[in-house]
Amino acid sequence: MLVLGIETSTPQASVAIGSEQGVIASAMVSRGASYNEFLLPAIRFCLDEAGLDYRNLGGVAVSLGPGLFTGMRVGVATAKALAQALSVPICGMPSLDLVAYEVRYSSKTICVALDARRGEVFTAFYRPSPGGIQRMSPYGIEKPEQLAIGLGSRIEDVLLVGNGALLYREEFEDLGSVVELGTMSHAFPHADALVELTVPRMFREDFDSLYDLKPMYLRHSAKRIEWERIRGSRSA
């Protein structure tokens, strides 16, 4: 089964096409916020290079974030419209899972920290398990100094990956050898990992509902946060 994967929740956007035999075409670009201009030409490129057409696709996979709001929306909207027009199933995957999956060969606990802007990071903890990873915490959003405190209280060794980890690396440097920092090549979620993780789900028919699928924001709109703050201080 051929699956198209779309990942646009960070400044590094990617698309990939693959099956149970692995990824056969992919395209990636790190140029910030022009996801909308990148996606369809990139998918066309992958299809052409692989000698395929849209009608060969058996499923669409999309990264749900957390990540940058505009990127997630363009990715999810594009994936939903492709799945709807093709009448094929759709599967959504959290961006943090994708980053952890790519470092699954480590024996350490994996902590993913993606840049959430406004001085915060999206985080989740994983442990490697046979054939993949297992998540051990909820998806969260916190300040890097809070994450550092949490990491400092851990007894086991931790592999800390993600662009958020690199952006706030000075927060984690005092933690010594307990925390190993991942490099730039493992800093972003990628569509290849998305395709690899989604193909088994497609075979199990563990699909998401096309009409209900939406990005994982983990953060309210700024207006709502402000609103609740005002309301909270009035009622207090």
Binding site: I43, R73, A85
Partner: protein, 358 residues
């Protein structure tokens, strides 16, 4: 999920009068420029096969205005079902569709992006043209959809929460902006005055309702630019005049009539807007007036313009309410006309929040 979903599945079959248009071209249209998610199927540029509109008014009500981030999120959730409903309502499948049209701007960038991304994706799969449509140009076509006496040329008053402008519509794709607001849009002034008076959101319909109970001559609010000789309007000063009137009355301990304020405010808007529209129509040398945009629902404006047009022998066209507010059917009609002129967009097209009409 956003509420109030309604659809017009039954086709409004109109007589075709423009000869060389491809009779049966089927366009799937998407409109997500502000706070309505809409999808429609339009046949031959004038026949609505379906027009699904999902309003987000409940989501923004508690904030007293549209919150762009909330609007964008709601579009992602509502658009896919709306497209499904539009196809079901027209008894078609994706593979019957000849082209996809979507609003490219002006509007909220986050909202526009959702519609453009989905429209381009569907066009890519179906291998049909994608047409990026100007939202304001779409409003001009709302008049052609329901009324077979409506034709270009005309002078159109586009009046809504985001826009107020007078356009000389000379022909398809041939427009001249004659004038517009130099500050607030008319609908924006209605909403701001309503919020100041403590009325429910959205405030425009509330003011209209209250004004029927009040005396429109009770308070002499200013008619800015009314006698300036051009076609521009200004509503910022009027809004301030209402606020000052209420504050002064409060300071004197007088009791004010909200109905009289609403009626007098609305009358000031109607007087200016009708005078400018009639003057523009005369200057353009046409005999047809189109009224479009959300504020076209205002009963005072409809009545005032109808009386003035009758006096001067102009024919006035006001589309039904579901075509006055933002809707995808008008985008489909405009998209069809653009398709016929060969005006299609590429799959790397991006929305433009400030896209000008001309």
């Amino acid at each position: 999920m956003p509420r109030t979903l309604w659809t017009t599945p039954e086709a409004v079959v109109l007589e075709r009068r423009i000869g060389d248009w491809d009779e049966d071209v089927l366009v799937l249209a998407i409109e997500t420029s502000c706070d309505e998610t809409s999808a429609a199927v339009v046949k031959g540029g004038r026949e609505i096969l379906s027009n699904v509109i999902v309003s987000q008014v409940d989501l923004h009500g508690e904030y007293g205005g549209i919150v762009p981030e909330i609007a964008s999120r709601a579009h992602v959730e509502a658009l896919t079902p709306a497209i499904g409903e539009a196809l079901r309502g027209s008894d078609l499948t994706f593979w019957d569709i000849d082209a996809i049209a979507a609003t490219l701007g002006p509007g909220l960038i986050g909202s526009l992006l959702v519609g453009v991304a989905e429209a381009k994706s569907i066009a890519a799969v179906l291998q049909v043209p994608f047409v990026g449509v100007n939202h304001l140009e779409g409003h001009l076509y709302s008049n052609l959809l329901d009324d077979h006496n409506a034709e270009f040329p005309a002078v159109a008053l586009i009046i809504s929460g985001g826009h107020t402008m007078l356009v000389h519509v000379k022909g398809h794709g041939n427009y001249e902006v004659m004038g517009g607001t130099i500050d607030d849009a008319a609908g924006e002034a209605f909403d701001k005055v309503a919020r100041f008076l403590g009325l429910d959101y959205p405030g425009g319909p509330e003011i209209d309702r209250l004004s029927l109970l009040g005396d429109p001559t009770a308070i002499g609010f200013p008619r800015a630019l009314m006698f300036e000789g051009d076609f521009d309007v200004s509503y910022s000063g009027l809004k301030t005049a209402v606020i000052n009137y209420v504050r002064r009355a409060e300071a004197r301990g007088e009791i004010v009539s909200i109905e009289d304020i609403a009626a007098s405010f609305q009358q000031a808007v109607v007087d200016v807007q009708v005078a400018k529209t009639i003057a523009a129509t005369k200057a353009a040398g046409v005999h047809r007036v189109f009224l479009c945009g959300g504020v076209a629902a205002n009963s005072g404006l409809r009545q005032g313009l109808a009386e003035a047009c009758q006096k001067d022998g102009f024919s006035l066209h006001v589309p039904p309410m579901e075509l006055c507010t933002d809707n995808a059917a008008m985008i489909g009609a405009c998209g069809t006309a653009m398709l016929r002129r060969g005006k299609t967009s590429g799959l790397n097209a991006s929305p433009d929040p400030n896209l000008p009409l001309v």
